[in-house]
């Protein structure tokens, strides 16, 4: 059977505002599945040209797939969102790169011709499902020294990455974090973020947290605009005494959900759907689990090689800020300045938050907005580090690119 690989495009992406995990967070009384359902519904509402019956797949990522993140959430969220029962769904887990993997998985199927259009997203309610909930690591990891004991503690792996790059000091990490907060605040002021947020109604019955009753969340809760170096310098380094990683130069523990629409370019054009980005290549790579923050570097090497591009061809970067050090290691590796204007123009996870498996689509949604505003840029990339020693990179082409 003759087969043609299809062009795959990112049609649109939305997310809930991100919240702080824990009893005082905005989503403390909100279910995880409800978060992703609201994102999916907004995606469908924003794209009325898409007949929901034409969605071929719903791929939803979550790291902790139990309770309201279990039960094959890709399937259940589709039903709860009101998609026809004929639309299937499944769940995905690659920890922090869950939503990114949801996108690449359905993209592969679109390119292969199995799907015309698919919803890909992720959710993580770290308040209801703290990191490490219910894990049961095989004792051989330790007894056979398969991984270092620090591998399961992300903060420790970040400290290890500082060790690998001695020139990346706490000062540099803090400076990076301050810039992330500044850029995020500016992006909000410029209205770059809100347009891709779906408001979420939230209930609070605990008077200790604030006003009780129903409220409406329209903005990210973790943001700390106005953060200064002084604010950050005194923070504790919980992962190592006299260490470098603090709550200020890392993403927090967060709740949130994302959803994107991935389709073949033919399908998108035929149904008059927006084409916000065109997929060029994607790649995943493994590294030593104890320096998982190094992952984006080999993943990007592979993705660039596949695309026949070099790092100089990339005009915009959306790098997940699990830790400042992980972004800085990437920049240092490629000889890019810490404050390079092409990198994380709207700020990153240090400001917005990082609800693990949902974050990948946030990067893409933001890159898509930047493509729209910057038609002189042809290629951009989204990249993230992943627990247990992995990296994930997707390279995108700007459909608005004006040519040479």
């Amino acid at each position: 059977m003759p087969r043609t690989v299809k062009e795959v495009v990112f049609v649109d992406g939305v997310r809930t505002p991100f919240g702080k995990a824990g009893p005082k967070g905005i989503y403390h009384e909100t279910r995880a599945d409800d978060l992703v359902v609201k994102a999916i519904r907004e995606l469908l509402r924003r794209n009325p040209n898409l007949d929901p019956a034409k969605v071929d797949e719903v791929a939803i990522a979550a790291t902790t797939q139990i309770g309201d993140q279990g039960l094959t959430i890709g399937r259940t969220a589709g039903i709860l969102a009101g998609l026809p029962q004929s639309v299937p769904g499944y769940s995905i887990d690659r920890m922090c790169a869950g939503a990114l993997t949801a996108v690449t998985s359905v993209a592969g199927s679109v390119a292969f011709g199995a799907y015309d259009a698919a919803i890909a997203g992720g959710v993580e309610h770290m308040g209801r499902h703290p990191m490490g909930e219910g894990v049961d690591p095989n004792p051989r990891f330790v007894s056979e020294k398969l991984v270092d004991e620090s591998a399961l503690f992300m903060g420790m792996t970040a400290e290890n990455l500082h060790d690998r790059y001695p020139t990346i000091t706490k000062q540099r990490a803090d400076e990076y974090a301050v810039r992330s907060q500044e850029k995020a605040a500016k992006a909000y002021a410029d209205g770059k973020i809100q347009q891709d947020l779906v408001p979420v109604s939230v209930r609070n019955t605990n008077p200790d947290v604030g006003e009780t009753g129903w409220g409406l969340v329209t903005a990210d809760e973790p943001m700390r605009p106005g953060t200064t170096l002084e604010n950050l310098s005194g923070l504790k380094t919980p992962f190592r005494t006299h260490g470098r990683v603090t709550a200020g130069n890392a993403a927090g523990l967060n709740d949130g959900a994302t959803a994107s629409l991935i389709a073949s370019e033919d399908f998108a054009r035929e149904h008059d759907l927006p084409v916000k980005m065109r997929l060029v290549s994607y790649s995943f790579a493994g590294v030593e689990p104890e320096v998982m923050g190094y992952g984006p570097i080999p993943a990007t090497e592979k993705a660039l090689a596949q695309a026949g591009l070099s790092i100089e061809d990339i005009g915009l970067f959306e790098i997940n800020e699990a830790f400042a050090v992980q972004v800085l290691a990437f920049l240092e590796h490629y000889g890019i300045a810490d404050d390079d204007a092409r990198v994380n123009q709207y700020g990153g996870a240090i400001a917005f938050g990082h609800p693990l498996a949902s974050s990948g689509v946030r990067l893409m949604t933001q890159l898509a907005r930047q493509f729209e505003d910057q038609p002189q840029v042809r290629y951009g990339l989204t990249t993230m580090c992943v627990g247990f020693g992995m990296g994930a990179t997707v390279i995108w082409e700007n459909p608005h690119w004006e040519g040479k």
Binding site: R41, G82, N204, T212, G213
Partner: protein, 709 residues
């Protein structure tokens, strides 16, 4: 303290056990930069199985919340205010337990006025107000929203109604005055009168929107978010709400007239609530809301102090609470599982029973009869009914396949019943035949199987007397039409044991029937009372009172149909048969009417012909009647009939036919469709003084179905 607050404080002292609803005020920023908004959440702090209600303290809490919002609105700190409910529930109205406790007209007036005073503050705020009907909304819950400027409704709402008239009240916190002014009188009459009197029919979200009660409708999944986005657009002027112009001319009067017609056809003037509501709707034509509110207060207070409402609440509690915990039923732990059912007989009644067991229990059901043709007809009936359900989309094809596969017929009782846990007979109503059938079943059915009889008048104990195991025989008396009338009289025979009875109650619950435990007494409860009632009507006709006078005499009771129309429905032959049975047991009180016998003998199916569209005495029947010369007035007839009913119920309670008068009323409501405003019948007999006159004492203690002492 405001006057409202004082008023409510007084009322709240009368009702210390109120489940109090909080009114939480939370502020939020509306999308699109539309501004700061105050959202009130009504929440009683319990889950959705305990819906939010309004008692006096709850109203006081809402009053405080509105005061806060009022201040902010006046100061320009908010651009709008909204009100919504806890998950799945908006609010289901006044707390009936509080209403039952009210003893004086003054206290009753305070409740009405208290609600009005609080709710109407919403419409007087300096900013637009929005009600978001997120879940079940009834009565005062609906009304609080009517005082707002705008309303949205969730498509997922299962129940939305103004049920006051159903209970014996009027929508008295603004419903009668506001609703016709919002959606027009015809629709308001439909919601307030027609739906209430139509077994309290509930509206779904879509209908609430289509009627114009809500200005926008959103799906349940993100109802509040979309409502707030819509609110932002309304406040920014991007969405304009256009409501249909209301015809304040003749259409208004016609709508009210139609309402009166509906009320007459349902309660025949016998219950005041619908008429009081219609008076207020009629006056609302002027658009003077305050006058309407005042009229509502007065109507509420009058009705709360009246017998019909107390009977209504009593009846409501019977069907909602007592029906779920049958008096005298043994512990359900004793019940045995029922995994296969046998039905002896394949006639119409047997086939209806087979269908009911099949649909509710979803276990194999076997019909047996004396020849294959009857069996095929019985199974064919069940299959045809399943196809009807399929056609109406009440079940899907898979369910239809499943049900059809479960019902079978067998000529051989041994093959059909050898593994049945429950066998019910619906064969010819004759003791010898039934004893024979039970003997045959006992020979082949497992030792634990329940043997149930659908007899309407024969002794269950006698039927069991010749069996080896009489302890497993129970009476299982359904009412026609089986699929419609909820009542199931469960008869305990002399030797019936607790396990068998518990199993019978367990089955009744799965059948979704209202089971009442009755003693093995002639004709049990409903048929005995109805036969005495009809017998007395027949007696006065036989003695010489014209048929029309006798019929009209009981109209003020507001029964679902006249005695002779009921006789026609039951069938004169069956009516005659039951009266003969009861005559054998109680010859002093139950006579066999020679006129009825003549009508049956002539093969007439009823007393009336309907050629003119209205019931008129059939001339052929008139020719058969041999009447005496004692002509009574309507009042005299009514007194005789009610005295007879009171006497019979008194005797039944003395005999221990049921545990309490409450069970008699529950039977009459669910088995004969006797109305809520009579409370079945004993509250009515008490308040009309009949019980005192006949038995020297009322059936119920003061406060049970009347204003407490």
């Amino acid at each position: 303290m405001s006057t409202t607050a004082e008023l409510l404080k007084g009322a709240s002292a009368l009702f210390p056990d109120e489940v109090v609803t909080q009114a939480h005020v939370r502020h939020l920023e509306l999308p699109f930069g539309a501004g700061r908004f105050a959202l009130i959440t009504l929440d009683n702090g319990l889950d959705h199985t305990k819906p939010t209600t309004f008692g006096p303290q709850s109203l006081a809490n809402l009053d405080v919340a509105i005061s806060q919002v009022e201040k902010e609105a006046a100061a320009g700190e908010i651009v709008g205010a909204g009100i919504t409910g806890k998950p799945f529930i908006f609010a289901v109205g006044a707390d009936l337990k509080g209403v039952e406790l009210l003893k004086t007209h003054e206290d009753a007036l305070a409740i009405g006025k208290g609600g009005h005073d609080v709710f109407k503050r919403l419409s007087a705020l300096a900013v637009p107000t929005f009600a978001y009907y997120n879940g079940a909304a009834m009565g005062g819950g609906v009304e609080v929203g009517l005082h707002c400027t705008y309303r949205t409704v969730s498509q997922a709402i299962p129940a939305f109604s103004l049920p006051e008239v159903f209970l014996g009240l009027v929508p008295g916190w603004g419903g009668c005055a506001l609703l016709p002014n919002l959606i027009g009188p015809e629709r308001a009459v439909s919601v307030i009168i027609e739906n209430s009197l139509n077994q309290n029919k509930q509206l779904k979200g879509k209908q609430v929107y289509e009627l114009g009660i809500a200005d926008a409708i959103f799906e349940g999944a993100d109802f509040l978010e979309q409502s707030l986005l819509w609110t932002a657009s309304v406040l920014k002027g991007e969405i304009k709400i256009e409501r249909a112009e209301i015809d304040r001319g003749e259409a208004w009067d016609q709508a009210v007239a139609k309402g009166r017609f509906i009320a007459d056809s349902k309660v025949h003037g016998a219950a005041p609530a619908a008429y009081r509501a219609l008076e207020i709707i009629e006056a609302a034509k002027s658009g003077d809301l305050q006058a309407g509110f005042d009229a509502e207060d007065k109507a509420l207070a009058d009705l709360i102090m009246g017998g019909e409402l107390r009977s209504g609440i009593y009846a409501f509690n019977l069907v909602q609470k007592r029906a779920k915990r049958p008096a005298g039923a043994p512990s359900k732990d004793l019940a045995r599982p029922v995994t296969k059912v046998g039905v002896v007989g394949a006639g119409l009644m047997a086939s209806q029973l087979a269908l009911l067991f099949l649909r509710r229990l979803e276990v194999p059901v076997v019909l047996t009869d004396i020849d294959q043709e009857r069996i095929d007809k019985g199974v064919g009936y069940v299959h045809a009914e399943i196809d009807k359900l399929l056609l109406k989309s009440r079940i899907n094809q898979d369910k239809a396949n499943r049900l059809k596969a479960l019902v079978t017929g067998s000529l051989d009782k041994a093959a059909g019943f050898s593994d049945a846990d429950f066998v019910i007979e619906a064969v010819f109503e004759e003791m010898g035949v039934k004893q024979q059938v039970f003997a045959e079943v006992e020979a082949v059915a497992p030792a634990h199987a329940i043997l149930a009889t659908n007899t309407s008048s024969l002794s269950v104990s006698e039927m069991a007397s010749k069996l080896k195991h009489p302890e497993r025989v129970v009476g299982f008396h359904f009412f026609n039409p089986v699929a419609v009338l909820p009542l199931l009289e469960i008869v305990r025979g002399e030797k019936t044991d607790d396990a068998s009875l518990a199993t019978a109650f367990g089955v009744a619950k799965k059948l979704k029937k209202t089971a009442v435990l009755v003693k093995d007494a002639p004709a049990f409860v409903v048929n005995r009372i109805l036969t005495r009632f009809m017998g007395e009507i027949q007696n006065v006709i036989d003695e010489g009172t014209p048929v029309a006078v006798a019929e009209k005499a009981v109209e003020p009771l507001g029964l679902p149909m006249s005695p002779l129309v009921l006789l026609e429905l039951v069938g004169p032959a069956i009516g005659l048969h039951v009266s003969e049975t009861l005559n054998r047991s109680f010859p002093d009180r139950f006579k066999v009417s020679p006129n009825l016998a003549a009508v049956v003998k002539a093969g007439k199916r009823g007393f009336y012909v309907y050629d003119s569209g209205k019931p008129e005495l059939d001339p052929e029947v008139a020719a058969l009647l041999k009447q005496g010369d004692v002509v009574l007035t309507e009042e005299q007839v009514r007194a005789r009939v009610l005295d007879a009913v009171a006497q019979e119920i008194g005797l039944m309670l003395d005999e221990g036919v049921v545990a309490e008068a409450q069970d008699i009323d529950l039977c009459l409501i669910t088995g004969a469709g006797w109305p809520f405003h009579l409370g079945g019948v004993t509250p009515y007999l008490d308040r009309e003084g009949v019980s005192e006159r006949v038995n020297g004492k009322p059936f119920l203690a003061p406060g049970v179905a009347s204003v407490p002492a």
